[in-house]
Structures are given as C-alpha cells and as structure tokens.
C-alpha cells in the first residue's frame, strides 16, 4: 500500500474503460502520472517504472461526482454542534461560503469515497431565500485548500415551498423578494460611491451579500434554484430570463411536465431520481422525471442529497436507468455533466489526457449492488479502502470483540 501511495506513475490495464467523453474501450489502459491522466487507450505504452494494476475483467470509470449534499459540512445530522452548512439568522446569505466550515477530517468522507464518490458539491443549507455559495471538493486532502476544486462553484437560492417564510408566506412574495434583492444588487453596483457615503435608501440585503450576487448577475456564477412545482420552475425560468442568469434547476420534481421548455432554455437540472413521494410542493413527482428530462435534451445531473448516503449515488443512477434513462446517460449524469454544470469539466468528469486522475476500478457495472469498488484514485493517489465503518466491522466480526 505504501508503494502504491508513493507511486508517481500508475498504469491500470486490461479493463473495460468508460471514459464518458467517448465510447467505451475494451482491454484498455489508463495511465496516470503525477496526479493527472496521461493517456487512455488500447495501445498505451506502459513505462517501465509504472506501478501496474491489473484490471482484467473490471470496469474503469471516472470518479463519481455528487452535485449536492453537505459532505464535509455535517457529521451527525441531529447534532447542531456538528453542522456547518448554513446560516440560520438570515434569509439572504449570499456572502456565506461554505469552505471554512469544511472539515477535512470528517468521518463521512472515507465512507463515501470507498464506494466510488470522489468529488462532491459542498452545498449551503441555510438562508431561507439565498443559501450562499457552494464549493466543489475532492474527497481527499488534509486541509481545505487541498480539498477545494472550485469555490465558489455556484450560488444557491430557493423557490420551493420551504422558501415561503422568506417571502412572507406566499410564493409570489418569494419571487418578489428575490427580484428585489437582484435589483438592489445592481443598484448597489452602479452606486457604490453613494453607498459608502450613506446616500442611498436602505437596500434589500447587506452590501456583502449584494456584492456576492454580482457574479451571478453577470452570468459568471451559476445560480442553483431549488424548485419542484411546475409553476415554481416556470417562475425560475422567468426570473433567469429577466436577469440573464446561468440558471441550474435543482429538484425540479415536476420538470417532466415542461421538459421541452427547460431544454429550450438550455437550463441543466439536478435530480434525485429515487424521490417520488407526493407533497403539495410537487404532487406530480415521479421516478420517470430524470429520463423524461434527458430525452428532451436537458443536461441532467443525478444526485444523492444526503451526505451520509452519498455512497448511494450509484443506486440513484441505477434506478434512473430502471425508469428509462439510458445507462450511458446515467453515467454521464454522475460524472461529466456535474463537472460541466459546475464549471470544472476542463479538469474533471471524464478519463481524458490532462484531466485530474480521479479514477475508480469496479468489479462490474458501477450501478449494480453486486459490484465492488476495487481501487479508488483521487488526484492519482490510491485511497485505502477503509473507513470508521470498516473498523467497526472488523472489531465485531467475531464476538465478543477484542477491545
């Protein structure tokens, strides 16, 4: 294992490689050097000093990317002492960025990565209207700097039922307040000098939050909007058009009803495919949502939103396939699509020369329960397949345990 960790050049050979960026390649080699992918193909010469991993009969894919959740931001959901994901004293937390709340020592991180998730969006979970800035992180590294792939990767806002308090109790109020904040951010940008001389009417949010929204209003930073009811999705599309935003829909439970319009607007959608319990926020929620959106041409990202269950991202993807998504589209929806949506596709999401070497070797189809993870590489480092849970298992495998 030590040798593996120190190796600079690694050749994973003989497996079926799913680069995602192109068709699968049988009996191929993925060559990793200094944390990057150097070559992928069936005729890749393997340097003499390379550490060889025999992947004969195995499947090789990019590390999975979970485009949601609070990995690194929560240890025990019910214990406030361990939660860092959001602000609860304000509805507008645009200036809040998650990074300094991240805990690289989180015990959740090994649990997720040894089952194939190598990268995740650490997502704010506070603020009733605007939650703040999400960061894309790799699930390895002993410092925040070492983990962060991109920060901010997106701004998060809410137009679903849960945002109603921020709008005074009505969906219409929520939309109105969001517009007010955007308008004031633009006003603030135009009149910074007046603001600093205190020659402006009070604004809808503190200056730091308005400042943080400017990249969103310039169309530089994606705005993830949680919306489930069809009418809320339509509100999001309307606001995005009005302010020329780079909108990303999240949840979008009734998105299937207007899949063509979402596709025409060029708006990607983040979906948790195993959700189908009706509520007044989304009476039309159904398993076929992800497939219907993908068929219409929408860029779909599949999610597992619970940090503790991030390892079940592959089960989510498998169920999306069960309900009509193609297998290839589902794999893309947990690799290249989240990388594209969150602006890291130049480095992540596929097995291509030059990309960061986040690579998984699976015993078979990644979405199947019978499939085991055999090797995990994050930035070219082989990750030991251990977690607090594997330690508990070993301790209690024979009873009584040896303490």
């Amino acid at each position: 294992m030590i040798a593996l960790i120190l190796a600079q050049t690694i050749a994973i050979s003989g497996g079926t490689v799913h680069p995602v960026s192109g068709p699968r390649i049988e009996n191929a080699t993925v060559l990793i050097r200094n944390g990057r992918i150097e070559a992928v193909g069936s005729n890749v010469p393997v340097p003499a000093d390379a550490l060889r991993i025999d992947a004969t009969g195995k499947w090789v894919t990019p590390g999975l990317i979970d485009g949601a959740g609070q990995l690194g931001l929560v240890e025990i959901s019910a214990v406030a002492e361990t939660r860092e994901a959001g602000l609860h004293d304000t509805a507008i937390a645009a200036a809040f960025t998650v990074t300094e709340g991240l805990n690289p020592a989180s015990m959740l991180i090994p649990v997720a990565r040894i089952e194939g998730v190598t990268t995740a969006l650490a997502t704010p979970a506070g603020g009733g209207l605007i939650g703040g800035q999400a960061a894309m992180i790799d699930l390895d590294g002993s410092t925040v700097e070492a983990m962060v792939v991109k920060s901010p990767a997106a701004m998060v806002a809410y137009l679903h039922e849960g945002a109603k308090d921020a709008g005074g109790g009505s969906r219409a109020g929520v939309a109105q307040r969001l517009r007010h904040v955007f308008d004031d951010a633009r006003e603030y940008e135009r009149r910074r000098a007046d603001f600093s001389r205190a020659q402006m009417q009070p604004l809808a949010a503190p200056a730091a939050d308005l400042e943080a929204l400017l990249p969103v209003l310039r169309g530089e930073l994606p705005l993830v909007v949680v919306a489930n009811r069809r009418s809320d999705i339509e509100t999001a599309l309307r606001i995005a058009r009005q302010y020329s935003l780079r909108l990303v829909l999240a949840g979008a439970a009734e998105g299937w009803m207007i899949a063509d319009r979402i596709a025409a607007a060029g708006v990607p959608v983040l979906v948790q495919p195993m959700d189908n319990i009706p509520s007044y926020d989304a009476l039309g929620i159904r398993y076929e949502n992800a497939a219907a959106l993908a068929r219409a041409g929408v860029t779909v990202v599949l999610l597992e939103t619970s940090a503790h269950d991030a390892r079940n991202l592959r089960q989510q993807a498998g169920n999306a396939v069960s309900y009509g998504m193609t297998w290839e589209a589902a794999l893309r929806a947990v690799t290249l699509s989240p990388a594209t949506v969150f602006g890291i596709a130049d480095r992540y999401g596929s097995l291509e020369p030059g990309k960061v070497a986040n690579v998984i070797v699976w015993s078979g189809d990644p979405f199947e329960f019978s499939t085991a993870v055999e090797h995990v590489f994050i930035r070219g480092r082989e990750i030991p397949l251990t977690s607090r849970q594997t330690e508990l298992r070993e301790r209690y495998k024979t009873l009584p345990p040896k303490y």
């Binding site: 959901s77 679903h160 009803m257 948790q272 319990i277 926020d281 939103t305 619970s306 169920n319 298992r393």
Partner: protein, 464 residues
Amino acid sequence: MKSLLALFAVALAAGCATAGGTAPAPAPMTAASDTGRVPYASTYARHPAPPVLIRHATILTAAGTELPAGAILLREGRIVAVAPELEAPPGAVIVDARGQYVTPGLIDTHSHLGVYSAPGTAAESDGNEATNPVTAEVWAEHSFWPQDPQIPLAIAGGITTIQALPGSANLIGGRSAVLKLVPARTVQEMKFPGARYGLKMACGENPKRVYRTRGPSTRMGNMAGYRAAFLEGQHYQRRWDAWQRERKGEPPPRNLRHETLAEVLRGTIYVQNHCYRADEMAQMLDLAREFGFTIRSFHHAVEAYKVADLLAAAGTAASVWADWWGFKEEAMDGIQENAALLQQAGARAVIHSDSPSGIQRLNQEAAKAMYAGRRAGITVTPDQALRWITANPAWVLGLDSVVGTLEPGKMADVVVWSADPFSVYAQAVRVYNDGWLVYDRADPTRQPRTDFELGQVPAPGRDR
C-alpha cells in the same frame, strides 16, 4: 432517502417511529371480550380471482429452494404447488414469466404508511400521540388512512403485508396494525386476519428529547418509565385474572393502557422495540426478563451486530436498515454488514424500511446488505437474503405459518420481478395479494390509485 423538500438542507431527523399489530388470534382478555365479539375486528375478505399459473420463471421460494425454470399455481388465495412443470387448471390465467423471477410478497415490519401519510402536512401527522411518555392505549389502526397515496407506491414495490406502527416519541407508543396492503375503504378491510397486535416501544434519544422538560429526560429515566408502566400492567393483569377466576361482584374497571400492557405480559401482543444502541438492547432484554415477556424484534437496531449473540440467545429478531447511519448520535455506528453479521451469529435478521420511499425498494435494500456481507466474507445466499424481507418479517409478526415463503398452503402473496430481484434494474411487474393481481406494471388499469390522487396527481403515463 430524503425527500425533495430536504434537497440542499441538512436532514435533521430520520428513523423515528415503530410499533405494530392487529387482532390477535387469542382474543385479548378484556371486559369487551365477554360479549363474545372481538372489538375492531378485521373485515378483510379475499378478492375473487381466477386461478393463476406462472410458468418458466426463476422461482425463489425463501424456503431453501430455487427453481431455475419453474411454475407456481395460485388458486383461491393459496399457493397450490411449486414445481418445474404444472398443468393449468380450467379457467386459469397463464403467465409466461420467461426471464423473470418470482418471490413471496415482501413484508415490512416497520412502516408508517397511513399514520404519516402523504402529502405530509400537520393534518396527516397521526403517528405520535406525544402527550404522555406512555400511551399503550392508542392503536395505530385508529389513525390509519387507507387513502394514503404512498400505499400504491409500496404495492408497486412488491409489498403485500406491513406493520404500521406508532412513532417513537413515546416510551410506549401504542399498538401496531398488521395489514394486507390492498386498496380498501377502511382499515378494517385491510387488517390481516388473525394477526396479533404489536406494541411499539422506543429506547434512547427520541423519548428523552420529546419529554426533556417533564421527563423522562435521561436513559435511566426511560428505563424507570418502562418499569413503572409494566408494574401497573402486572397489577391490572392480576386483578383481572382473579376476577375471571372467581366472577364475583362487579368486574374491575377497565383501563385501556393497562389492558394493552397486560396482554403483553400474557404473551398475546408482541413487543416491537425501536432501539439503536447495543447496550440499550441489553437493558431492554433485562427489562423483558424482569416482567416475563419476550421482545419479538428490535427495530432499527443499528448496533445489533455488536450483540448478535445476545439477540440469538434471547430469540429476539432485529429489523434493520441496510445502510442508514449517522443522522443522530445513536445511529453513528451503523454498518452495512449488520444483517449479515446477525445471520452469521444465528440471530433472525430482517430488513425493514421505516420510510415511504425505502418500502418501495426493500429488495434493493436487502441486496445491498447481502452483497456487503459477502464482501466481508460472510456467506449469504439469495434465499437467505430473501428471507430478510419475507419469511423473517413474517415471523416477527407471528405470521410465518401463513405468509413469507412460496410453499403449498401458504397465502398467495406473490411477486413477479422483471429480473433478479437483487439487481438494481429489477422491477416488480406483477404483484398478487391473496391471489388477487393488485398491481400490473404493464397495465395502467391494474395500478391502484387512491382518492387523494384523483384530479391532483397525474396518472402514470399521462400528461396534464
């Protein structure tokens, strides 16, 4: 596992409630039973259906055998035969299930369908009578809403029997309802004939959090609360037993709370105990010894693997999740090998849902637990893993002689799967409950819809 409402929000509390049961075969000894009529009786009646012969399927019986290309005959609500080849009786519907799999109907020992119904507003919050830490007097069936739109979703996942339980706010939360999962107007029409009631009890964090200002506020307070309640039940039982023997004078006054506890002590109601931590399970086993009852199953039991030997010795099952963990402190030590380690130690393992979402994929949860066990070097056969969601939960409900396996004479609760049910790609395509085809994935007219859905929830395959 979390709903879309929780998307991008930290999930605060999962895994909270338990309880269970229906009218016990031996009628509870109560004043009402003197009238000769079981109160709140089941009015369940088998739906008439033609005989069904399913052929050319891989049949997993959950009784130790697997037929790679077999047939199964259902008639008048019973399994008639399981064999490589069978003749179709006159009038039988013949199902060619080539490439498909057949299993017993799945059974969930831990559900809150109907007591925490969708759409999930306060109006449907009927699972926790959180007004007193001991509410043995309440019955889940009196909350149960047969029009819960989550019911058809669970049916489509191959579920044929559930135990609907009160929540876990209380030390003793009330009686469970054991139900046939069929479309019905009333809960009485769903009550599994002859099934016993369960009594939901809860350990640990939930009761002490809910009652922290009035008590119990500690785990030792929880224990004192159970003991005080069962002392009262014991006293009540003695008074009634004495009166039944002597029949002198007025009967003692009835007390619904004590009545339920007395039935636990008489062994006619099964204790279904929400309990996460290993040390607390050991305490509860001692409590049961003190009062002379047995705990039928621990529920959630994320640390059951640490005391699997104690559970095996006590004859107490463990109903567990495949992989939920970490949502609260007492759930920190959940591991995916829990069920497999229980089985290895000779304890009875059950995979339960406690979730309207998870109940739709109990086969997938069993698959995760099976393969996790195998990867850890523990032998788990498909038949054994299937028993985690069929025969073993049937035992937890006291119905193992009636349902849970594909054996002649058993109730015709049968699921046809599109593929190996331990594959992520498998779907229940035909679900028979007591011989009645309650769900057919290929036929929208055989996909039950609740009143709630009409005009609100678009029908499958339909746009608005």
